[in-house]
Amino acid sequence: MWLPLLRLFTLIALLTSLTVATADEIVVTVKETALRRDKQFFAPAIKVVKFTEKLELIESSAGWLHVRHQNDQGWIHSSAASAPKEGSLLDAITLGDKKGGGFSEDEVALAGKGFNAEVEKTYRSKTPKANFNAVDALEKVHTNPADVAKFAAAGELIPRPLP
């Protein structure tokens, strides 16, 4: 009577452990980035993912990450996301989500947010010799990946590996 039950539990444990072992969760660490159809910056964008959004890592290849976001799959560069490092802000947010971690979500958010917009606002009010208007104007400059691709082609620039 117990043998079939034991087989069932073994199967459940095995399937669950496999699922858990491959469900690597990573977090977007840049303001926003495109989920692309292929692992190159000129590949068409499927959608935009934003800072702290969670992604499921499927595989990694040559510095690129194949990920799942909601119902979509695509590639982002590894410099745009990471697994929460122990003690990092992102790890703190993850820890704060868990009951019994000892911290409220507000405390976690504040603990992680060190140098932030609020600090900049105060710094700006105390530092007349800082041209933040020029920085804001610079941040309005957006470079279209399609234009970068045309720039490379027009200049006969062909990527190559190191010798």
Partner: protein, 304 residues
């Protein structure tokens, strides 16, 4: 006990076995070993696990690096005003974005941006997070697109290697992390929070001063400059540019070093001859790459 209840009870027994796997999958395996009593003790004395685990520059988040970079850029752009020129702005931003793809860090929190600044000095500045400023004097001293690519690649390397952030004195960073951790644990009324923001701003201000001092007055260390040169060679080569551009520019600098006194490139960078020796040693291992007529024409079209 009914069979169904036996199944449920048995499944529940599995949970303790699966929990470590679940934590490990989320990269939180070490949390299993956390001593909760020690943690509560730390909280009682006003520290936190976040403080004890944040120690150095690499523990700053990309978002924090971005805010630091904004303020560093604002200080530089106050002394070196932007030079509006939309055609050259497009040119250097497209080139810079193309080159950044081949760096160790193609994406920063808000991305790379490239700006000409109005100064006769031969100089370039790379703020943490990716705002890169090139002086008019430097731009006018260049004679090819390969040389411009080398300059942009060198500055991108400083950003990706976080050389600017490393200028923040360790004491300032420790003080900031401690304050940030304590802030999270206090119950804050408005007055309390205001005092904490002011104190954090003061530390922030000192950190910005550290970086601006390095970029504008003292320069990076010799090893950081040589490291950025080597990275620039790699970026240019991988992007399809002739890496010879960097050697050509350094040779020009070497010839001009006796003519420029005071600030600028010569004050903030090691001797060009020194850098040229290291660059040539790498280039000797690579075969030469011919010039490109389209790139030559394009550069000439974008001269100042």
């Amino acid at each position: 006990m009914k069979p169904a209840n036996k199944i449920i009870a048995s499944l529940l027994l599995l949970v303790p076995l699966l929990l470590p796997l679940r934590l490990a999958a989320f990269g939180l395996g070490d949390l299993q070993n956390l001593d909760l009593n020690k943690l509560k003790g730390q909280i009682a004395t006003g520290t936190s696990i976040f403080t004890s685990m944040r120690k150095g520059v690499s523990d700053l988040t990309p978002e924090e690096e971005y805010y630091i970079g904004r303020s560093v850029s604002a200080r530089i752009l106050n002394d070196y005003p932007p030079l509006p020129h939309s055609a050259i702005a497009d040119y250097i931003n497209q080139m810079g974005h193309y080159l950044a793809q081949f760096s160790e860090r193609p994406e920063t929190f808000a991305g790379y941006r490239f700006q000409l600044v109005d100064s006769d000095e031969i100089n370039a500045f790379a703020a943490p997070g990716g705002n890169i400023m090139i002086s008019r004097g430097l731009y006018q001293a260049l004679t090819s697109e390969e040389q411009l690519a080398a300059i942009l690649a060198h500055e991108i390397a400083h950003v990706s290697l976080q050389h600017g952030l490393n200028a923040i004195k360790k004491a300032n960073l420790t003080q900031a992390f401690t304050l940030i951790g304590e802030t999270a644990l206090k119950e804050s009324g408005r007055g309390d929070k205001l005092a904490q923001i002011n104190e954090l701003t003061s530390i922030f201000s000192t950190s910005i001063d550290d970086i601006v001092s390095q970029l504008v007055v003292n320069g990076y260390s010799r090893s950081q400059e040589l490291e950025a040169d080597q990275q620039a060679l790699i970026l240019c080569y991988r992007a399809g540019y002739s890496p010879q551009g960097l050697a050509e520019f350094l040779a020009t600098l070497e010839q001009g070093s006796s003519q420029q006194a005071g600030g600028g490139f010569y004050a903030t960078h090691p001797a060009a001859a020194d850098r040229l020796t290291e660059v040539n040693a790498t280039l000797q291992q690579w075969s030469a790459i011919p010039d490109s007529a389209p790139r030559t024409a394009r550069f000439q079209k974008h001269r100042l």
